[in-house]
């Protein structure tokens, strides 16, 4: 196969630079206290023979004033996890801004006509637009009325409420209001206490979202969908149509997708998702909580998959086939891979001469900074440095370090649900013996190896990178491409270096699956080879001397 992850052959040193010197350059301007903290979040990768990697301090507070990429708890809860579900009326309870900013800005695509009722509220922004009188006298009354008005105007099957910063402070009992209105309206109404100040990043919001959806939705419908190989896809938000591409591949393979959390999703899918045979996790960070809880309550196992990159996609499909251990399925999966790969390989071969050896940096999210290294590798590009915006240590170092992670004060008050096996519906899909057999075949249940073991030694891992560190990294390495988000995009591009947004895909995509890989190759080719980066200097800046006046004769 022509596509491989060549960066593993890298020399293990960041382009010959003194690695500690680089770290020093990133930290030297900080006040001592800040430098001490950041020191633990900036790590040179080493991979031990047992796959162990250095500790990366992560999921800790952002330093005030340092300018990080992070957003808030609300963004993780409403923006990331719940936002992509089309048929819930998501009401932001708070002043107008939070609802406004999270209105249609994440490119989660959805196909409402695939639901019988055709509901789609994703194009709408619902907010209680809290005014000062509610801050003073409380907002429950307004919330109650807002839920009623949402029901009267839209007749949804579910309404969710998201609290923003002041709500927690003024003490609105959102959950009580939701319970009351659920009773009154006879539809599912539930709330999320996802105030922006909770936790240290979006991550808190993911957890709260997971808890809420698990509590209020999962398992509320026991109808079992038809299909021999029933799976859920978790942590795939259908940015730019990624989920559609994955759905296409699943369908071709004969896999039945019960629910995606939460790209192209309907609340009804969640309700019966516990009836599936296997959970697949794409974005480990944002969704592993639901997977864990489903396993505990319903006996549904999960495996980590990755559909970013053609090789990764093929590998993930084979893992699924191995799990089901059905010759017909395996055959079909192999047939799909065989049918899809040639076009991908042809495109990679066409583009690679123009991308080979170029250098990337990735600072984004909780999984993309890892996954997209695959795609760059397929283009012959190496990743000099990477880091997550809101990940935890397990996302860097692998779930093996879970027992060692200390939960600090900021995360401690994010509720951990106590979940028990459902007396009626708990049904373990694999027994211990079979799990062992499967593990031997590479079906590593409930595991995520983390980003660092798959990165070369010497690569720099930076958690929650600051603007200052970003600037220094650019100055030190002048990478050929930088991956981050919209806030970073033009900062980087002012340097004459293209930035690929890996939240919004720069309004391109899909990049998942086989077709997505082709799209990505073409896009990276466009970006790193755009003529515009050669236009930065005017002729008179390149060549400022004045010719003799009569040079024109």
């Amino acid at each position: 196969m022509a596509i491989s992850a060549e960066y593993k052959d890298a020399d293990g040193v960041l382009e010959g630079k003194d690695l500690e010197g680089v770290r020093r350059r990133l930290l030297e301007k900080y006040p001592p206290k800040v430098a001490r903290k950041r020191d633990k979040q900036i790590v040179v990768n080493r991979v031990g023979e047992d796959g162990s990697v250095p500790v990366v301090m992560s999921n800790v507070r952002t330093v005030p004033g340092l300018i990080s990429q992070r957003g808030c708890c609300y963004a993780g809860c409403k923006g990331v996890v719940l936002g992509p579900t089309r048929d819930i009326v998501n009401i932001t309870h708070g002043p107008v801004g939070c609802g406004f900013y999270s209105w249609l800005t994440r490119r989660n695509q959805t196909d409402p006509d695939s639901s019988p009722d055709g509901h789609n509220f994703m194009t709408y922004c619902f907010t209680t637009d809290m005014q000062d009188e509610e801050i003073i006298f409380g907002g429950e009354k307004k919330l109650r009325l807002a839920i009623q008005e949402a029901y009267d105007n839209f007749k949804p099957k579910a309404i969710a409420v998201f609290s923003t910063c002041p709500v927690g402070l003024i003490g609105d009992d959102v959950h009580a209001v939701c319970r009351e209105m659920k009773e009154k309206l006879g539809i599912n109404v539930f709330g999320f206490s996802c105030e922006g100040y909770k936790g240290v990043s979006q991550s808190a919001g993911h957890h709260i979202a997971n808890n809420g959806i698990f509590t209020h939705v999962v398992g509320t419908d026991d109808a079992v969908p038809e299909g021999d190989f029933k799976i859920n896809l978790l942590g795939e938000y259908n940015i730019g149509g990624d989920a559609f591409e994955i759905e296409r591949i699943f369908e071709a393979c004969g896999l039945t997708l019960v629910a995606t959390y939460s790209g192209n999703s309907s609340i009804e899918h969640f309700a019966r998702s516990h009836t599936a045979d296997l959970n697949l996790i794409m974005c480990h960070r944002s969704i592993n909580y639901v997977a864990e809880m489903m396993e505990t309550k319903f006996g549904l196992p999960w495996i980590k998959v990755n559909f970013i990159g053609a090789a990764a996609t093929a590998k993930s499909l084979r893992k699924i086939a191995a799990y089901f251990d059905d010759p017909a399925l395996s055959e079909r999966v192999e047939a799909v891979i065989a049918a899809e790969l040639p076009a991908v390989e042809a495109e990679a071969a066409a583009v690679r001469p123009r991308t080979e050896g170029k250098r990337a940096m990735l600072f984004v999210g909780g999984s993309r900074a890892h996954h997209y290294q695959e795609l760059f590798a397929e283009l012959g590009m190496k990743t000099l440095s990477a880091g997550y915006e809101f990940a935890h240590r397990d996302d860097y170092e692998g779930r093996r370090v879970l027992p060692d992670i200390k939960v600090d004060a900021d995360s401690r008050n994010i509720q951990e649900l106590e979940v028990h096996p459902d007396p009626e519906r708990y049904r373990p899909r694999v027994d211990a013996q079979r799990a062992e057999t499967l593990a031997a075949k590479g079906v590593d249940f409930a595991d995520y190896a983390g980003m660092m073991p798959e990165m070369p030694a010497g690569a720099l891992v930076i958690d929650d990178i600051s603007h200052h560190e970003t600037e220094k990294m650019i100055a030190l390495f002048k990478p050929d491409i930088f991956c981050a988000g919209i806030k970073e995009k033009y900062v980087i591009q002012k340097h004459g270096i293209p930035l690929k947004q890996l939240h919004s895909y720069d309004y391109g995509g899909p990049y998942a699956g086989f077709k997505g890989a082709i799209n990505f190759y073409q896009e990276i080719d466009r970006m790193v080879n755009s003529r515009v980066w050669g236009y930065l200097k005017a002729p008179w800046q390149k060549n400022p001397e004045l010719a003799a006046k009569y040079a024109f004769e």
């Binding site: 006040p31 800040v34 990080s68 922004c125 637009d129 909770k198 200052h468 002012k494």
Partner: protein
């Protein structure tokens, strides 16, 4: 259909805002603060705020938007944000070295009741603010007003903190309002063309429409300097463009430094540009140069040339109050009929009266909601459609669903270029708006004409 649940059946709503036509104060404050040279805006709240504001401003300007945050955690929310802000001030001056930090509050810090002046004083006392550098602030609770209020508050704070009385200079203060960097440049150009020395604040030109040179500058060339803000208290007069966005600063200047202030509409369209130029002329005691007469005459000429295609067109407008007022006046001057108008900003009775006065001839199907939301606006359209929509990018969902020509204007514009470089204020700006409206209307006319009616010449 993108907005498939919207119907013409209007039910009264008192609590639920659907598809807001505004956003919150802090983003306006952040934008205004970027119009000071060497200034780093600082959001005193949880880090989601600044992330959202920076993202939205970046999508609109396609430029770096730098700001910092106090990054409240739950602890700060309970015990107050003083420690966070002090730490932030220290880190910012140490690491990023701005000339000035402009702090704005958020719903969170306002609900807690953080006392910013007190914290800043402490920072000063603690030596966290280097000599010759500044920290100033505006209170911008998200649950009051809108992004326009935030802009106005931060602009007023510039006066409150920095303007100093002094012997009258020959300078005029121009407070441009919540407009594009290109508009600020154009407002300044008109004054310069008249030989007038102006202090324009805030001034986001070259900050949010800067060049690509391969060299990133965290603090770009543009922006009003603190020195200029200080001197603004000695100016001959102030012109505050837009009652909502600029009058508070202009009136504060009058109150603080006795600099008389004229509050005008935004100079969008013929008549409001006339008023701006004429006010400038009288305030500065200068003559209007022929170059401006020419620009004006070209605009009048173009209006007369293209009048047939815009005449009588029913227009739906969503935007900020100052924009709505000036645009309504311009469209009416073109014999167009703005019939549905919505702003999300609670702009008050006086504003609504002015708007209704401007639109006295608009016809009997005039509908105005102050404040209103885009859902209501869309419902009006479902009842009876319009010939043209004008407003921010979010309107495109309505435009597509209802198949209505659409001109993007206002904030935010997230999906087209041009607003960063070409003004809509002044006579040139009015020509641009005219062109945009004509393109929209004529493209539609041609699309909808049969082969038989299709015209070569218009």
């Amino acid at each position: 259909m993108l907005l498939r649940h919207t119907t013409a059946d209007i039910k009264e709503r008192k609590a639920l805002t659907v598809n807001p036509a505004k956003t919150c104060q802090p983003i306006g404050a952040m934008y205004a603060a970027l119009g000071i040279h060497g200034c780093l805006p600082h959001s005193h709240g949880s880090q989601g705020c600044y992330a959202y504001h920076r993202s939205t401003l970046t999508r609109h300007y396609k430029e770096p938007v730098m700001a910092a945050t106090s990054a409240f955690t739950e602890g700060a929310s309970v015990f107050g944000g003083q420690a966070n802000l002090l730490q932030a001030i220290d880190n910012i001056f140490t690491v990023y070295e701005p000339e000035v930090i402009a702090v704005h509050t958020t719903c969170l810090s306002e609900t807690i009741g953080d006392d910013i002046p007190q914290i800043v004083n402490k920072a000063k006392a603690d030596g966290r603010i280097p000599e010759g550098k500044y920290v100033f602030h505006a209170n911008t609770p998200s649950y009051v007003g809108s992004h326009v209020t935030g802009f106005a508050s931060m602009t007023k704070a510039m006066v409150d903190y920095f303007a100093e009385s002094g012997p009258r200079s020959r300078t005029i203060n121009l407070i441009p309002g919540f407009v594009e960097p290109a508009d600020m440049t154009e407002i300044r150009r008109l004054a310069t063309e008249m030989g007038i020395s102006a202090i324009l604040f805030p001034d986001t030109a070259r900050v949010l429409n800067g060049p690509l040179t391969g060299k990133y500058r965290m603090f770009p060339e543009g922006g009003v300097t603190i020195d200029q803000l200080r001197q603004s208290g000695a100016s001959v007069g102030s012109i505050a463009l837009g009652a909502l966005a600029s009058a508070p600063a202009g009136l504060a200047m009058d109150a603080k430094c006795k600099v008389p202030c004229a509050v005008l509409n935004l100079p969008i369209g013929l008549h409001d540009t006339d008023l701006f130029v004429d006010t400038l002329r009288r305030m500065a005691g200068v003559n209007v140069p022929e170059t401006i007469d020419l620009e004006r005459g070209q605009l009048v000429d173009a209006i007369s040339d293209w009048h047939p295609y815009l005449y009588g067109k029913r227009v739906g407008l969503v935007g900020d109050p100052d924009q709505l007022l000036a645009l309504s006046r311009f469209l009416t001057a073109l014999d167009m009929r703005p019939v549905y108008l919505v702003t999300g900003s609670p702009a008050g009775k006086k504003f609504e009266e002015q708007l209704r006065e401007t639109l006295a001839d608009a016809g009997d199907d005039l509908r105005i909601a102050v404040p209103g939301d885009m859902f209501l606006f869309h419902q009006w359209i479902k009842e009876r459609s319009v010939d043209l929509l004008m407003g921010n990018t979010y309107l495109k969902y309505i435009a597509r669903d209802e198949d209505i020509p659409f001109v993007r204007c206002g904030f935010p514009i997230l999906d087209r270029m041009g607003h960063s470089y070409f003004p809509t204020v002044g006579y040139r700006g009015a020509l641009r708006l005219l062109e945009k409206m004509l393109d929209a209307v004529l493209d539609r006319k041609e699309r909808d004409s049969s082969d038989i009616e299709f015209e070569l010449v218009l």
